[in-house]
């Protein structure tokens, strides 16, 4: 069991290379601006429903940066939930796809206008379709991991979900299936703990001090980290991934994160001011350490805001899928 590392004082210099810090910041801003644009689209009637990941960028960006992106079992698989836009951007995805899904246009690259915002699916990048039912991704993750283990190599399966969802049996199934003595599996199980499930506080429902402790009985390495700090997230993810890649065994990582715009558009999608804003906090530190100036960071934000606005205008006039397309892709054709 690796001992908890001492959290660096805010005054200590940032331990990642400058270029990486800037890259992380850039992606965090990009993801935040994307989510804000999606919320705006919803509020302006250009989409029926919003759900997404503002508040999780500090964790999700490093995750995407550290993944081995490609198609098939030689690359990492991502079984994500619906707050993962920052990871997708860090994996190289263009934001306009998310806007198209929000507007349910025929051009939506993830579902052709069929599924909700944030429900990514990219076979070419091993992003398994995000589906709305909570926690089912934990039941499937051992399958992609088994194929990876068989192949050899160092690719891994990453599965993410929220804290409330760990009450579903599938979370436990994943623990069991990943730690079978006959065949331990290279799965990085992630729980992004924002302390809420819609309106229900985890404090009433969960007797666990830390969700991550649930791995211990199975001999699974586990850790709880501050997911609001991108530096800690990067380092811890890197270490956990290295372990899974090398040992071909599971790791359970819990990241404490914020839910900055509430659960979804169903709960209003308004900014929650009581929660830690990871981006604000990170920017303060970047400025303090002289990595970036306020001006530079503002420029970045403005540039993305303009880009997203332009993209949203483009998407606005794109056609919806035609009614008869409901009959397409019920089955795959033999190749």
């Amino acid at each position: 069991m690796s001992r908890p590392r001492l959290i660096k004082e805010a005054s200590a210099p940032l331990p990642l290379e400058r270029e990486l810090l800037i890259r992380i910041h850039d992606l965090m801003v990009k993801a935040r601006v994307l989510e804000e644009r999606l919320i705006q689209m919803y509020k302006q009637g250009h989409g029926y429903f919003w759900i997404g990941g503002p508040g999780e960028e500090a964790f999700n960006v490093p995750l995407g940066l550290l993944m081995k992106v490609g198609q098939g079992p030689a690359y990492d698989f991502l079984h994500a939930h619906y707050r993962q836009s920052a990871t997708l951007l860090a994996m190289g995805e263009e934001p306009i796809g998310a806007l198209r899904q929000m507007k349910n246009t025929a051009s939506d690259p993830y579902s052709g206008g069929r599924n909700f915002a944030g429900h990514f699916s990219i076979r070419a990048k091993n992003v398994v379709p995000v589906s709305s039912p909570i926690e089912v991704q934990y039941a499937m993750a051992p399958g992609t991991a088994l194929a990876q283990k068989r192949l050899g190599g160092d690719s891994i399966t990453i599965v993410t979900g929220g804290d409330a969802g760990t009450a579903e049996g599938d979370f436990a199934s994943c623990l069991v299936w990943c730690s079978r003595p006959a065949e331990p599996l290279p799965v990085l199980m992630i729980v992004t703990n924002n302390k809420w499930g819609i309106s229900t506080s985890g404090a009433e429902q969960h007797g666990e001090q830390r969700v991550a402790d649930r791995g211990r009985a199975f001999g699974i390495q586990c850790k709880t980290i501050n997911g609001n700090d991108p530096v800690e997230a990067y380092q811890e993810l890197k270490e956990a991934m290295a372990y899974v890649r090398k040992e071909r065994r599971p790791f359970l990582l819990e990241a404490n994160v914020s839910r900055l715009y509430g659960h979804s558009s169903a709960s209003g999608a308004n900014l929650v001011t009581e929660e830690v804003d990871c981006l604000k906090q990170f920017e303060a530190r970047l400025e303090q350490d002289g990595v970036l100036t306020r001006q530079q960071m503002d420029d970045t934000r403005n540039r993305y805001a303009e880009e997203m606005a332009a993209a949203a205008r483009l998407v606005r006039d794109e056609p919806l899928p035609a009614p008869e397309t409901i009959w397409n892709h019920i089955y795959a054709e033999k190749k």
Partner: protein
Amino acid sequence: MANMAQAIRMALHYAEENLGVTDIFGEDVGAPLGGVFTCTQGLKTAWNSPLDERGIIGMAMGLAMAGSRPVAEIQFCDYVYNTIDLLKLAGNTCWASNGDWNMPMVVRTPVGSGIRGSMYHSHSFDATMTHIPGWKIVMPSTPLDAYGLLISACQEPNPVMFLEPKALLRVKGEERIPGEPDDDRALSKMIDAPLGDRSQWRPQWPNLEAFAVPIGKGKIVREGTQLTVVSYGRTLPLCAKAAAALADEGISAEVIDLRSLWPYDWEMIQASVQKTGRVLYVNEDTEVTNFGEHLVRRTVDELFYSLLAPPKLLAGKFIPGIGLADTLEMASVPQLGDITEAMRALAVQQP
């Protein structure tokens, strides 16, 4: 008049006060939210459960066996499908124990399309549920029926599945619920939770009265002579609307709101079909192995020689989901135009 969500809330309040209901629970059912559709706001026995549908159904079964009276909620019926084994168990416990045990529990869950809910907030559950023996199954299409059926459900010694057509939850009724105030806004002030901080809020319940719609009884919502339309839930008001429109074309359709799916009012259907000789069943579940097909089968089984035309089913397309885009949802489940057309075609069909 109250909308269906308010009617459900009032029935649950009535049941807490008068019928021994002890637990109203599910995901986000308790304070502060009171249900994603507001159906459980302000109820004294409402509480929030873990995010675990199997746990919810299991909890209800345990409570029922211990003599409590639970009303459990599955937030959307789209998320009930990992509990089918438990629902089957709840439905067979009385039979398996040769009558020793019974399961007085109610499960409520919103069903159907109509809110652009995409693949996982648009499911229907009537086909799957009617295949599970041992349950009673109801699905109101008006606030008053919702009120009366839920009160009956809370008096049942057997498990009852209460399906809430989500497209109708916010539609106001045309009939008064016994006890509700005259003024809608007054009612809202009394029982709807305020926006913002609700920690101090308490509802003021009207003086509600007993009113039970018996399980198993349909309702003729429009009389007619040339064809019979049997429906329930979201599509029922569309059928009534279509019938009204067709009356102008000189087509006289009788419209039956089934209300109870199991047991259902066969006598009512039978009498109507014997009169009209033509019957259209309408629902929005996918059309293969659909409950409407059961009704068609029974119709040809028992009324074949009374039929002037083949009995028809209009249901959801057999595709893997309802897509988010408006174009997709509209094409996937029966809309007003589809129903009107199907009725017209049936009315005029000649061999």
